[in-house]
Amino acid sequence: MNSVILKTAARLLFPLLLVFSIFLFFRGHNEPGGGFIGGLVGASAFVLFAIAFGTEVTRKLLRIDPRILIGWGLFFALVSGIMSMMAGDAFFTGQWIFPVLFGSEIHLGTPLIFDIGVYLVVVGFTLAVIFALEEEN
């Protein structure tokens, strides 16, 4: 599609959507949000870019084949489970550490790693499907 308005808007919205997706991702820690919805928003940034500038440019921008992203996503999700096993608990039992950074306690745990995996799988899957559909015609 060759539209000046769309191209300009896509350029502006692209970073905004990415930041928003990361915000949603971290918001999922205690409130609605998380890897799945964050991943969808993240993917939508790339989809918007692909509609405005074509998939070839977008693939270059992404640098990594979306199918490989799915692989990494699954891998991260599984690693979070394996870490529980190494700690001696049942698979997928949450493991937490609470480091103090700049005077405030931070909750870091394996569910976060799992969620990164979800994020990557969702981005990878959505983009793989949409790129394939775009490139069909």
């Binding site: 799915i70 692989g71 990494w72 891998f75 489970g81 394996i82 698979f91 039992t93």
Partner: protein
């Protein structure tokens, strides 16, 4: 804390994720596939050993106690099936090295293969009814992609039939799950079985049990819901057909056995009589369908249907010997039937066709392949001393004990017809002369497979043939495990106790 139960699930999905990460490298994917399947075989054998020595194994992932979390359970029945799945996964992953074409490999055959194994193992190990549905979906989606991978017209035709009927089955399954949740207030199989023991709402429970029967009946291809199977199984490459024929319908049978031993035992006279009378037409129609076909893959596909009939028949008898026979039958069928598919694949690589009219001369030119076929075929037909004989013998013996003469008569007749089918393939493809229109004789571009490819194709067939002979001749210790497994199935209190009061 024993983690052994998670490995049959963790290894395939981890292998799939690594294969996806190296999506561009076909060679790496191949070897990671074989390596992952080999590891899976090792760990599932260890799981069987653990279950046999320490009793039913239970794991609560995420440390959520049953019945609130999703439980993984392995009794002997599950462990045996996981073990034979590992064996099949390993054998067929090697076979795929010689069979899969470049195009399918670069579209992700290897990760899909592992995810299919992941789904199958999940269905065998889950202790949660809704979770079982999820595993069925994992299997359905991957098998759909594997079936249509390659994009040929016949494939899409088969895949559409397959997917539509299986989606319908999932819908019925899910409705049944909903009803059961309404009655018992839990989805955990053990807790559900416990809640059903007080015998209230029998009418409603039996209604739900019929929904499960229809749903799993579609998945396991029983009469009259089998038609999707012969319509789709001959379309993909033989590696995919073999793994489908080995595992997918058996997961349906596994689920039937699980719910009709653990949950729906309130009115055996009603439910299991229905099972019994479904089994007869399943056997008969399957074997008659096979008699009318001349494509080796179609003959074998129809035989899957007929063999499912025997398994359902054993379940319907519902005695200790019968259930041991059912488990043996499932294992035997996984081994013998897929081996026949694999042999048919090798024959196609030698001569160029699956059709009996274009096959021939195999006995003269390839004695090793012929003997491998003979072992598997004799086993499938049920001649002593191979696995098929003991499988049929046990199930039929159980039938004689409960004096179901008519059903036994049909079962024996179907056995004879199976022999006829195997003889037909033997005469058409092995003893006959090579016909002029066979691709190897008429098409100068066709080259019989040779070298390393040949090794990759023949090694797994020999491995499984060795198991068929071994389990047939040296069967007694194996049967002892089977009787223990049948005891566990007949006495659900062991299962319930293991899950709810660890």
């Amino acid at each position: 804390m024993s983690h052994i139960l998670i490995y049959p699930l963790l290894i395939p999905i981890l292998t799939a994720s690594i294969a996806l990460i190296f999506f561009k490298s076909r060679v790496f994917q191949r070897w990671i596939n074989v390596l992952g399947s080999g590891l899976l075989l090792g760990f599932s054998a260890y799981l069987l050993y653990m279950v046999q020595s320490d009793g039913i194994q239970v794991l609560q992932p995420g440390n959520w106690e049953a019945p609130f979390g999703i439980t993984l359970v392995a009794d002997l029945f599950s462990a045996l099936l996981v073990c034979v799945t590992g064996l099949k996964a390993f054998a067929i992953s090697i076979y795929s090295l010689g069979d899969m074409d470049e195009r399918r490999e670069s579209f992700g055959f290897h990760p899909l293969y592992q995810i299919l194994i992941f789904g199958v193992n999940g269905a065998f190990l889950t202790g949660d009814l809704f979770n079982l549905y999820v595993w069925f979906e994992v299997m359905l989606i991957t098998s759909f992609v594997l079936l249509s991978l390659g994009n040929r017209k016949t494939q899409i035709d088969g895949a559409v039939k397959y997917v539509v009927i299986n989606l319908l089955s999932s819908l019925i399954f899910l409705s049944g799950v909903g009803i059961m949740y309404g009655i018992t207030g839990t989805l955990n199989l053990a807790a559900m079985a416990e809640a059903l023991q007080d015998g209230e709402n029998t009418g409603l429970v039996i209604t739900a049990s019929m929904m499960f029967l229809v749903s799993f009946g579609i998945k396991s291809a029983v009469f009259p819901l089998f038609f999707w199977l012969p319509a789709s199984y001959h379309t993909p490459p033989i590696t995919v057909t073999a793994i489908f024929g080995a595992l997918l319908t058996k997961v349906g049978v596994y689920s039937l056995v699980r719910v009709f031993t653990l949950l729906f035992t309130q009115d055996i006279g009603y439910t299991h009589t229905i099972l019994l009378w479904i089994s007869v037409p399943t056997m008969v129609v399957g074997v008659l369908g096979a008699a009318s076909q001349y494509d080796v893959r179609k003959i074998l596909s129809f035989h899957i249907v007929s063999q499912i009939g025997y398994m359902i028949m054993g379940l319907a008898f519902f005695t200790k010997i019968a259930l041991a026979g059912v488990i043996y039958y499932i294992l035997h069928n996984i081994l013998a039937k897929t081996n026949l598919f694999l042999v048919a694949g090798v024959a196609q690589k030698y001569v160029g066709s699956y059709h009996l009219s274009k096959l021939g001369g195999l006995y003269k030119n390839y004695p090793l392949l012929s003997s491998l076929f003979a072992i598997s075929a004799i086993s499938l037909a049920g001649l002593p001393p191979l696995t098929g004989f003991w499988a049929k013998y046990t199930v039929i013996y159980a039938g004689l004990e409960v004096q179901e003469w008519v059903v036994i008569g049909f079962a024996l007749a179907v056995g004879l017809m199976t022999m006829f089918s195997m003889t037909k393939i033997w005469m058409g493809a092995y003893w006959s002369k090579l016909p002029d229109k066979a691709p190897v004789a008429s098409d100068p571009g066709f080259k019989p497979v040779s070298g390393l490819h040949r090794v990759a194709l023949l090694f797994p067939v020999m491995l499984i043939a060795a198991f068929i002979v071994g389990l047939g001749i040296y069967g007694e210790p194996f049967f002892r495990i089977l009787f223990d497994a049948a005891d566990q199935l007949l006495d659900p209190s062991m299962y319930i106790e293991a899950v709810l009061n660890p």
